[in-house]
């Protein structure tokens, strides 16, 4: 029993060390939010541009955007990312259920969109752990966006 306990402690200890070794504290800037980590408004606009490029180039989901006013879409998406990440914006678009219900989206469409967003964040040199912080805010929208 003691043996089992000490092994458990060892496993946890090694794991904690592994996590700590890889933990890179974000620079302690004033207003140290996800918004600043994403590069502020400029960074978010750039990310939304790149991401939209990826969405429109992906045959799995590009058709969904056939009738979309892309300029408005980019503007609203940037606004939403800004607000979600703690920036000084107020999202003025439709709520997520209303914006997507007519599109009859499936879970695989959501996954495809997330994959494209990850590619875009990579191209914008956003660190993996920062990417996951943004994705953590978007993931629950699966509930409202996926209706099929």
């Amino acid at each position: 029993m003691y043996d089992a306990m000490s092994k458990a402690v060892l496993v946890v200890a090694v794991f904690v060390v592994a996590v700590m070794v890889n933990f890179r504290p974000a620079p302690a800037l004033a207003g140290d939010t996800l918004y600043t980590a994403l590069g502020g408004n400029e960074g978010i606009v750039r990310l939304v541009d790149k991401a939209t490029e990826e969405f429109l180039a992906d045959p799995r989901i590009s058709n969904t955007f056939a009738d979309t006013n892309i300029a408005r879409f980019k503007e609203k998406l940037a606004e939403q990312f800004c607000e979600l990440s703690g920036g000084p914006c107020v999202y003025s678009g439709q709520d997520m259920h209303a914006a997507h219900k007519g599109l009859k989206l499936r879970s695989r469409d959501f996954s495809a969109l997330v994959e494209n967003l990850q590619v875009a964040m990579g191209k914008c040199d956003i660190p993996f752990s920062t990417q996951n912080k943004l994705l953590a805010l978007l993931a629950p929208m699966h509930r409202d966006v996926v209706t099929q």
Partner: protein, 261 residues
């Protein structure tokens, strides 16, 4: 958001190497069928274990799995009086049902994904199993698993509670002369996602101790998993299964190749 659509544990169900997860194989796709195959080799101080199998996930709700394990006694087979390279084999049929939660998408609640499952195991060396004090060559495990991805921390955590009679996962039969009832065992694991292609983690799993001829201990592993793309993953681990059949400190490497969609 997870780097892979599925990984299998050593008994064939969706999970890590030793530990079972609440996730349903192919969880990337709620609207279809996912599948995963695995081939695993474990090289220990005195023994080796091979396992292969597959799992099918249906609509992120139900998982069906099969695994075949071959435990090779290598040279230890001689001292155990069984003969060199005497093998214990086992077939494992599994079913898992997701009850509540979505480990990946529910990032705004603490509720984990919770699943329950059954693994029916059939070992092939009934005579030897009874000789060493085992009561049966067939057994059924029941478990409940909880998994949660803490995405903002890039951390995946799992805990499983299992009711089992299995000796060394069932390879040495079920129940024994020391204890013949069900034991409550647990599995815990955590993985840290370093980037899109690499995760590091640890697992711990307790086992019953039913046979008086040889002690059985808990198992643990430290692993690194690589995901070159969504369909392939490779896991390399240092594993410690404790004492097995009078041979102390069975440690070694665990290598697993997995492919799925």
């Amino acid at each position: 958001m997870l780097a892979t659509g599925g990984a299998s544990q050593v008994e064939g169900a969706g999970g890590g190497g030793l530990a079972t997860w609440a996730m349903i194989t192919g969880y990337g796709s709620r609207d279809g069928i996912g599948a995963n195959t695995h081939f695993t080799y474990v090289g220990l101080s005195d023994f080796s274990l091979k396992s292969y199998g597959f799992a099918i996930g249906l609509h992120d709700r139900l998982e069906l799995s099969y695994a075949r394990q071959a435990f090779d006694t290598e040279d230890a087979g001689i001292t155990l009086g069984l003969g060199q390279n005497f093998k214990f084999n086992q077939d494992i049929y599994g079913i898992k049902l997701r009850l509540v939660g979505d480990a990946v998408h529910d990032q705004d609640t603490w509720l984990p994904q919770i699943s329950v499952g059954v693994q029916h195991k059939r070992a092939d060396r009934g005579q030897v199993i009874r000789l060493i004090g085992g009561r049966s060559d067939r057994g059924t495990d029941f478990y409940a698993a909880a998994s949660k991805l803490f995405l903002s921390e890039s951390l995946l955590v799992n805990a499983t509670l299992r009711a089992t009679k299995a000796n060394q996962f069932g390879l040495l039969g079920f129940g024994g002369d020391r204890e013949n009832g069900y034991s409550a065992t647990y599995e815990a694991s955590a993985a840290y996602l370093l980037n899109k292609h690499l995760a590091l983690g640890a697992e711990y799993r307790t086992k019953p101790d039913n046979l008086s001829f040889a002690r059985e201990n808990a198992a643990y592993s430290l692993f690194a998993s690589v995901f070159p793309n969504k369909h392939i993953s490779m896991t390399l681990a240092y594993v410690d299964l404790g004492d097995i059949a009078l041979h102390p400190d069975q440690r070694g490497i665990y290598a697993s190749l997995q492919a799925g969609f």
